[in-house]
Amino acid sequence: MNKFRIFFWSILILLLQILLFNNINFSQHINPYLYITFIFIFPLNKNRFVFLFTAFIYGLTLDLFSDTGGIHAASLLFVGFLRLSFIKLFFKKNTIDYLLFNLHSEAFGQVFNYVVTITVIHHFVLFSLDNFSFHNMETVFLNTLYSSTFTLVLYFLGSYILRKKIT
């Protein structure tokens, strides 16, 4: 996937998040946060400054539109920083493999583990920051559970449907 297509898909997903997914509000708190796809489609690189900075700006843009201060920026940056360690853990990849790494050419079991871990961590950080106190921790856990299920179902459906177009 070349740079232009990554840019195009990132902007499209951001627009979908702002206009559609942020307004689902299923039983008030449950929304899919599909903009996390950004973490999965951004190419791996040894130099991580560009990726960390773009993840921060990407989250901040969403914060700007949804009046949430910096919670999306903080949570996206958090999983963005952890991404490489999870790739090493689940796919056993080294620096040499980064250039040709593609989620679609990996085994589904590993991809599933990777995507689920990153999504759940992201959602947990997101909802804890949204809650911003140690009260109602049980709602934070419940929201994380429901919303990440929602996100994951949509992500796997989307990546299955668009698997030919994205790669």
Binding site: L19, N25, Q28, H29, N31, R48, F49, L52, F53, F56, G59, L60, D63, L64, F65, S66, D67, T68, G69, G70, I71, A73, A74, L77, F78, F81, L129, D130, N131, F132, N136, T139
Partner: protein
């Protein structure tokens, strides 16, 4: 020195990550104190303009409902006007003072909600009124059914409203049938229910009582409807919580009014001078 450089080189990504995370946390904390989030809010021209374009499309789907609501409001206002005129006719004013004819404490500015939010714990709305419409910070936002929030950040054409569905929001409210007052807060669970706290123990509150805004703050005029009491928890204790069902359906708002208080500056000056 060399070791320090070596340290920075080794952990450069982690340090960069910490720096950005620190900025993000600062923005989150600023977003929680009224009026402090200068940069990251939806009242700027880019996000405001974006929402303006998108709502002008989605508005078409609710035109019927909005029209009937506005017509209902007109009906109510017309009937009230007739009543008021009736009262005025019975009062004989022998000497008219010029200033009385033009004296007006509150004036209303009409606008539209560009972005509604009710699912978070800290909800903010964006409206299409800004400094050019003489809307400024800390002005009341209501609609025909009840209160909505307080303007917080104002740009040229748009402003951000702190919704009453914000766990940081605190609004002076009172019972309609007597003058005991308390503060209206939200616990973040249900977007149709808000909580009234600090009502004195001796006040008799019944289920179904109407709650209106009290005139204690210089933001809301007295008597804007809020909602009805649905249940009372821990009755007759100091921790009494009164749950109130809002008249407004906060998930479905469109036309709003911003209230301009002409006496606000005078009141603020008076309070400031008496505090010293």
């Amino acid at each position: 020195m060399q070791q320090l450089i070596y340290f920075i080189r080794k952990y450069r990504y982690f340090l960069f990550f910490l720096l950005l995370e620190f900025i993000a946390f600062n923005l989150v904390i600023n977003n929680h104190s009224f009026h402090k989030s200068k940069f990251i809010n939806s009242a700027n021209s880019i996000t405001g303009g974006f929402y303006n374009k998108t709502t002008s499309i989605s508005d078409y789907f609710q035109l019927n409902k909005e029209n009937s609501e506005l017509s209902n409001e007109n009906l109510l206002l017309k009937n009230n006007l007739q009543k008021a005129l009736q009262v005025l006719e019975t009062v004989h004013i022998s000497r008219s003072i010029d200033t009385i004819q033009f004296k007006q404490r509150y004036s209303f500015i009409n606008g539209r909600i560009e972005k509604n939010q009710y699912a978070s714990y800290h909800n903010f709305l964006t409206i299409n009124l800004g400094e050019l419409d003489s809307v400024f910070s800390e002005m009341a936002v209501i609609n025909s059914k009840g209160i909505i929030g307080i303007t917080e950040h104002v740009s040229k054409n748009y402003s951000r409203v702190q919704s009453i569905l914000n766990t940081n929001s605190k609004i002076n409210a009172k019972l309609k049938n007597n003058s005991y007052f308390g503060s209206l807060t939200w616990n973040g669970s249900d977007y149709n229910t808000v909580q009234l706290l600090d009502i004195p123990r001796q006040a008799i509150v019944k289920i179904g009582d109407t709650i209106i805004t009290g005139g204690m703050s210089s933001i809301f005029p007295e008597g804007v409807p809020i909602g009805q009491v649905i249940n009372i928890k821990e009755e007759a204790t100091i921790k009494r919580v009164i749950n109130i069902r809002l008249f407004n359906d906060m998930s479905n708002l469109k036309n709003i009014y911003v209230i301009k208080d002409f006496d606000k500056e005078e009141i603020m000056n008076l309070e400031k001078s008496s505090n010293e």
